[in-house]
């Protein structure tokens, strides 16, 4: 990424929070919305703009589960492991996904298509067990459905590349 471009973008984000105390987390949220993760180059620029030591920025990024230091896959698969989902077989669904995608939670598939992660409760326990892919929520997922759900996404991407 070009440093000048980053600087301009980060400055825009930071300016909207200028003068507000405790803005670091909110700025990081916007940066992650923009880039999908918090790249190191961006943190370096941010540190200059906000006049906050890089260590402080990393302290915050690494403490909160929400912030990422590596780029996410094209599709993020979040498997809910809240209590209700756990009781209704969330672990089985996760195992099946690990098996199908050959990754562990927190990892991205080699082709960069899928990022698998475990979340603690998506707040729709009535639908347990729940898997979220991108913004779409799948409720009442059964082990045998997992393959079909994943295929929709990989086909979708193949079709696009072909086109």
């Amino acid at each position: 990424m070009d440093k000048a471009v980053i600087e301009q973008e980060v400055r825009e984000i930071a300016d909207s929070w200028k003068g507000k105390e405790g803005n670091l987390i909110m700025v990081l949220h916007q940066i992650q919305n923009r880039y999908g993760y918090v790249p190191r180059e961006v943190s370096l620029v941010l540190s200059e703009i906000l006049d906050v030591p890089l260590a402080r920025i990393y302290e915050v990024i690494t403490f909160y589960h929400f912030f990422r230091l590596t780029p996410p896959g094209k599709h993020t698969i979040s498997v809910c492991m809240g209590t209700a989902c756990y009781l209704k077989g969330g672990a089985e669904i996760l195992g099946e996904l690990e098996h199908l995608l050959c990754v562990k939670p927190g990892e991205t598939t080699k082709d960069g298509q899928f990022h698998l992660e475990v979340v603690r409760c998506l707040g729709c326990c009535g639908l347990a067990p729940v898997v979220k892919i991108g913004e779409k929520v799948y409720g009442g997922v059964k082990k045998k459905d997992v393959g079909d759900i994943i295929t929709q996404y990989s086909e979708d991407s193949e079709a696009k590349t072909a086109a």
Binding site: K20, E21, G22, N23, L24, I25, M26, L28, H29, E59, V60, F63, Y64, H65, F66, F67, M81, G82, T83, A84, Y86, L87, K88, V119, R120, C121, L122, G123, C124, C125, G126, A128
Partner: protein
């Protein structure tokens, strides 16, 4: 308010399953030329079960069940046009629910301030600004007996009074919307379904404590809740309900949203404050309490979403009205998120003092078919289990505490005979270990060691000594941890050990899991007398642990078996036993 009609035209059982009831109703409206004046909404769930087609007419709120196609014209002429109920069709729900917090959820358009105002919205704010002093406002809440709904149950009115009396020119109001307890989603529902009631509660709180600024701290995982609160704040600013000189008074107050970033510990007051300040969410020792020294060192009052949603109603109807609901020590209602192995999972709002039995069986319909309920768990990772034998227990702060659990934020997880208590304890403890911030040693080290012991137990390698050690570490953590997370993290272990010690003992003595849940302790065996030698299990086994052929039958090699249970699932004649 315009007429709205909800129809539920899917019935799971009974002779009239799905048919185009909605279409018939729409046709009926067309005949009368009403299709543009009446909003007809098809809903999937209306909270009434096993009663065929259900129709609800709003704003009058007539609820009709078992409606036949032939009833439609009558419903339209009498109720939709005439505004009168058809007495003999009316469904009176023998419900033990009472809606105070959820009064507007699902009734109003959450993005419309007009809808909220039409339901007495911001009347309470006008009342306190016009008639009450800040002292009187706090007094009224104190008289109501309202206690914090976030879990600890501290009296809200008292919190307001302490913050108001604390010296300082700048004070802050914070709404704690960091609902991290897995299995609880009542705050989310209120923020999404009735955002203005929380905003109104915040403004009234700000007035009572003398704050000019308030913050909403909401989980980043709840994007819709954030969007709705943002919109509500914007609408309020436009209507002169936020900003300078609110509703023509001399009171100034404004709100801002701050997002959480996926840290459970940030639900703890002092950690939440650190997070709003833009730091990592480390808790700090109390005292000083946030009411004295909170956000940026200023007196700060932190209230939970559900607590705040109660405030406008209390102000309008009076503290004594609210104090008339519930039990002696716990007033008002509580919203529970009933989930897990239960027929009708969902949000339930009941007066304090309702028995667990009424909630689990009366309102939620009991266990899933074919199973029986074993226990419930309340309070999430900080709470405990309550076995079925104690379902006469009333839900209020004191009774639940006496049972070794807590009210918590209101998650209620129903478990059935297939759930292993040691496994559940391991699940909750694993959550707390993941979420421990690592600042204090008792929580950081104690949690990890307890998890190691529990893993030993569920793997069948534990001893009786391990169980004693679990208890010892639990007590140390309860006494010595810095914040609520560590102090309460051992609760699920202690309460399961208390009520289900025999289950733990089966794990360590007999190396057996009575609920057949702990993978390492399960054995799958083919019962030759029932086996029809179809070979399905042979095909299903992913690791080739089943050998044999269609003549001689099949055998499972226990050393190869990974206990995935696939053979068990595919076996039609149920010839595979799990023990």
């Amino acid at each position: 308010m315009a007429k709205t009609v909800f129809v539920k035209d899917t019935a799971i059982t009974g002779k009239d399953r799905t048919r185009d009831f909605y279409g018939f109703f729409l046709g009926g409206l067309r005949e009368k030329g009403l299709e543009n004046d009446v909003q007809l909404v098809r809903v999937a769930d209306i909270g009434v079960y096993g009663q065929g087609m259900v129709v609800r007419v709003l704003p009058e709120d007539f609820l009709y069940v078992n409606v036949q196609d032939s009833d439609i014209p009558a419903v339209i002429t009498e109720s939709v046009i005439g505004g009168k109920p058809i007495k003999d069709k009316l469904f009176t729900q023998a419900s033990k629910q009472a809606r105070i917090v959820l009064r507007n959820c699902g009734v109003i358009d959450p993005e419309s301030i007009e809808d909220y105002i039409a339901r007495d919205g911001y009347q309470a704010l006008a009342k306190v600004l016009g008639e009450y002093t800040p002292e009187k406002t706090a007094q009224e809440i104190k008289a109501s007996g309202l206690r914090g709904r976030g879990g600890a149950g501290f009296p809200t009115g008292m919190k307001w009074e302490i913050t108001r009396k604390a010296p300082g020119d700048q004070k802050y109001m914070i709404c704690n919307g960091d609902e991290g307890d897995p299995g609880a989603y009542m705050d989310r529902s209120v923020l999404e379904g009735d955002p203005h009631s929380v905003v109104e509660g915040m403004i009234i709180g700000g007035y009572a404590i003398g704050a000019s600024k308030g913050y909403f701290y909401i989980r980043a995982e709840y994007p819709l809740a954030i969007a709705r609160i943002e919109k509500a704040i914007e609408q309020c600013r436009k209507h002169g309900i936020l900003g300078e000189g609110i509703l023509g008074s001399s009171f100034n107050f404004d709100l801002e949203i701050r997002l959480g970033a996926g840290a459970f510990v940030c639900g703890e007051e002092t950690a939440l404050i650190a997070s709003i300040e833009g730091k990592r969410g480390y808790p700090s020792p109390r005292p000083p309490f946030p009411s004295i020294k909170g956000l940026w060192g200023k007196p700060t009052c932190i209230n939970n979403v559900e607590t705040l949603a109660n405030i406008p109603v209390i102000i309008l109807k009076g503290g004594s009205w609210f104090a008339g609901i519930g039990t002696e020590g716990s007033k008002g209602t509580k919203v529970f998120a009933v989930t897990g192995k239960v027929k009708n999972s969902g949000l339930v709002e009941v007066p304090m003092g309702t028995t667990i039995e009424d909630i689990v069986y009366g309102i939620c319909g009991g266990a899933l078919s074919g199973k029986s309920v074993k226990a419930i768990q309340t309070g999430g990772p900080s709470g405990g289990v309550i076995p079925k034998e104690y379902f006469q227990t009333k839900v209020d702060y004191e009774s639940l505490q006496k049972m070794g659990s807590i009210m918590g934020s209101g998650g209620m997880i129903v478990m059935d005979e297939d759930d292993c208590m040691a496994d559940i304890a391991k699940f909750y403890l694993g959550f707390c270990v993941d979420e421990s911030c690592g600042k204090c040693a008792p929580c950081r080290i104690g949690g990890t060691q307890m998890l190691r012991l529990l893993k030993k137990v569920t793997d069948g390698e534990g001893t009786r000594k391990d169980l004693d050690q679990l208890e010892q570490i639990s007590f140390a953590m309860q006494k010595a941890s810095l914040c609520g997370l560590g102090q309460t993290a051992p609760n699920p272990v202690l309460s399961t050990l208390h009520y289900y010690r025999s289950e733990y003992e089966a794990h360590v003595d007999k190396k057996k899991c009575p609920a057949c849940k702990c993978e390492k302790l399960i054995r799958f065996l083919i019962m030759s007398e029932k086996c029809v030698k179809c070979g399905m299990c042979f095909k299903a086994c992913p690791v080739g642990a089943i050998s044999g052929n269609r003549e001689s039958g099949y055998l499972i090699d226990q050393t190869k078996c990974v206990r995935c249970g696939q053979c068990f699932e595919v076996c039609k004649p149920r010839a595979i036993s799990r023990s």
